[in-house]
Symmetry: C2
Subunit: 312 residues, 2 copies
């Protein structure tokens, strides 16, 4: 059903590897609608990024020449148009300054760049920098350790509104691989999906991972052994694996928090509960912000700078 969104001032788009989200918005930050689709990078390469975008804009009822601002993997080398990484350390505003304009058939479209860290600990992000921009605007905090959990979790050190450094931990991907493809699949079966923070086995895994992040590789096979020796149930095996990986992730990252910095958790729902439990146990009681909300705020900041001008 076509929504009447012709009063949108711009459209905010988070375009990732495997899916995209679109929000028609007004300059005051109000959100007029939402659309989610499984059109990721591969779809863009096959059917054309501009054609896919125009199709979704039409479905949203966005008419005329409404401008569009995009973050995420659409700006990668395999995406619509490469937006070269901003190298850290860098103030977040640099992301706004370095946007690129793809060929969009006459529509005003800008893609924001990701950030890269070179040197001893090379790392990259695309999309999270826009969430960081939004969370600084939302919270007013400019010194923080920011946890952004997911398939590839990011841990970011913000210092004076700049990204001082960051690291990526493949926790979500490792959990899936281990639960579905390793020997642990015999212990977990189809119980991988619903781990909750209240499960004692999750807490036990969390404590083990936090206490000794260096022992995480040893701890993995322990789950298999516990199911052989003690009949550990599949739901508990899944919870223990999740706790162990998240605990080791938090334990290794917690040391990078500066004394006076805040701790922010960018997550919602079940993921927020799992990571909050681990961070509290590590003594890092976090302020939670919603990823969708802050990515829209970051894209709004970009749209204001590019087309809409000033504050709302």
């Amino acid at each position: 059903m076509v929504q009447g969104n012709d009063s949108a001032d711009f459209v905010a788009v988070d375009w990732g590897t495997s899916r995209m989200r679109l929000w028609p918005m007004r300059r005051d930050g109000s959100v007029l609608g939402e659309r989610r689709a499984d059109d990721g990078l591969e779809a863009g390469r096959q059917r054309g990024f501009s054609a896919i975008l125009e199709n979704h804009l039409a479905e949203l009822g966005v008419t005329g020449e409404t401008p569009v601002v995009v973050c995420g993997m659409a700006g990668s080398r395999q995406g619509w148009k490469e937006a070269a990484y901003v190298e850290v350390p860098a103030p977040l505003e640099k992301v706004l300054a370095d946007s690129v304009a793809p060929d969009a058939g006459g529509r005003a479209v800008r893609i924001l760049p990701g950030m890269a860290q070179r040197g001893d600990a090379p790392d990259v992000m695309r999309g999270e920098e826009t969430q960081l921009l939004g969370l600084v605007l939302k919270t007013g905090l400019s010194d923080a350790l920011v946890a952004m959990p997911g398939t590839h979790s990011k841990w970011v050190t913000l210092s004076g509104g700049a990204v001082a450094g960051f690291s990526t931990v493949m926790t979500g991907e490792l959990f899936q691989l281990l639960a579905e493809h390793s020997i642990l699949r015999h212990s977990i079966g189809d119980a991988a999906g619903g781990v909750e923070a209240g499960q004692p086995a999750f807490s036990a895994g969390l404590e083990a991972g936090l206490r000794n992040p260096a022992g995480v590789l040893q701890g993995l096979f322990g789950i298999r052994a516990a199911s052989l020796l003690e009949g550990l149930p599949p739901g508990d095996a899944a919870a223990c694996l999740s706790g162990l990986l998240i605990g080791a992730e938090i334990g290794a990252a917690a040391g990078s928090k500066a004394g006076n910095a805040a701790t922010i958790l960018v997550a919602s729902g079940r993921m927020e509960r799992l990571y909050r439990a681990g961070m509290v146990l590590a003594g890092l009681t976090p302020l939670t912000v919603d990823a969708d909300e802050v990515v829209r705020m970051g894209l709004l900041a970009a749209a204001r700078g590019l087309w809409l001008g000033g504050e709302a």
Copy 2:
């Protein structure tokens, strides 16, 4: 081709999850032949363990009523006949005392049990206990930290000829999963197979893993980032991943070595070279023993105790 092995005093069999090895042997330890097959647990369950064994004995030219001693997963609950785990701490001789006799159609067959560790760090082994038995006989060492690398590496603390404790690290399985199924596959391609200890990227990964085993989960994505940012070649990405995992494994295990204990590496070929490089870097210069040789020595010790009597 049928070999003439009717002078064998017994047949030593290592029967694992996915393959089996058989050696007709004399009581003095001499090896008359060898046969390797992909008949693991699944084959045993489908076609019968006894039938498979008799087929291979016939192919080896082993006639009459020659007894057979077996170690490995054939003694698991999903195997031929369950040989209940010996619980550690326990002297290795307990493995000899607790063998079980499966239904083998009149042939004398004994299966040796594995070992289990209960409590805070549950763990299990099946097959390695027989290698340990052989290596104590071969080296005369009864106090040692023993590294047994592989798909599921074992690190065993031997104290006074007893297994004091052990841990399993899924290093080989993790390497395969990450190289073939994670986002790192885009960086490694088909270069996973041939990592060598002399590669600078292997050494770099090793050093990073040893220096900070707790950072291994962060280090994984760094390989992807290095290939995006610096064009890290696939062979170097594979070597770096292998080094990082092996380094973290050794770094986490090295602390469990008692001051006066020896260090033993049970490995051969490429695997021996990779682990030796890491252990030397960690200050644990190991004595190397060959896994096949010590498993045969362990099975020989069992055969002597059961049927052949005394020393050679």
